[in-house]
């Protein structure tokens, strides 16, 4: 179980994931050794699943990001599994989410420009199995992107 110290540590780390252990511990009001031990424990328990590097795709020349929302053919029992397996093979897909609601699956697709996006859409996305409907939301700007939780 988590205690207040764990929560405080996580709150600071979620707010500023780039913090080193020493500075994090200082902000949480504990020693660096305790901070390190707590982080190890939280990682071993699976509360912290990963610390990932964020890649800025725009800096790599990927100017276009589109959220594609799919409705799948639910009369086909393997629709989800087969769709997801095929979507994982598309390199331009950077995220896959499944939902309960009007939308079944959402894919985040990046492309260098609109021409490249049109190519990916026609040659890879429309080839995915069991699609009954697709809606696109094109990203204009990310106003907020935080992992912070109101702990």
């Amino acid at each position: 179980m988590l205690d207040d110290t764990d929560r405080r540590l996580l709150r600071h780390l979620l707010a500023d994931p780039g913090l080193g252990t020493a500075e994090l511990a200082e902000r949480a009001g504990i020693t660096a050794a305790t901070g390190w031990r707590r982080l190890e424990k939280l990682t071993a328990a699976g509360v912290i699943k990963a610390q990932e590097a964020v890649i800025d795709w725009r800096r790599l020349g990927y100017e276009v990001e589109v959220a594609l929302r799919f409705t799948l053919d639910k009369t086909e029992p393997r629709a989800f599994d087969e769709f997801l397996a095929a979507a994982r093979l598309v390199p331009e897909v950077t995220g896959i989410e499944t939902f309960l609601g009007r939308v079944d699956v959402r894919l985040t697709v990046i492309a260098r420009d609109m021409q490249h996006y049109a190519d990916v859409y026609r040659s890879r996305i429309l080839m995915l199995p069991h699609i009954t409907d697709i809606e696109a939301l094109m990203l204009i700007a990310t106003i907020k992107d935080a992992e912070a939780l109101p702990l």
């Binding site: 989410e97 990203l139 935080a146």
Partner: protein
Amino acid sequence: MIDLDDTDRALLRALSLDATLSAGALGRRFGLSQPATWRRVRRLEEAGILAGRRLVVDRAALGFGVTVFLGVKLATKGRVSLEDFERAVTAIPEVQVVQHVLGLFDYRLRVVARDIADFERVLRRRIMTLPGIGQVEANVLLTEERRPGPLG
């Protein structure tokens, strides 16, 4: 924009899964010396390609069992209403992500809540009272995975 070689792409891929890997550990994996690895990582950081870290936590284990994506359409548009809406929505602690989008909706929000009852509270008291809010569509997140993207 800087040119990347296969080693740079392999480093990006490895770090996008585990940003805590040291230059020594990465170097051993890809047959580079520790200083050479450090220089490459440094160059990727300076170019802004490596843009910080993301902590991935088990939200359910922390008491946040529900994540909902909301598609929001504004009832009134115009520069002022966009600014009012953005200022108010980013201040809500349960709203983790706010994206301005083009399509069926104007904004896409990721909202965390302790359970469905808590989500209803956030939706009624915080979201539906936002300035300019119009139609809202909710989809409850079941699973999510990040993919390495075009680094292969």
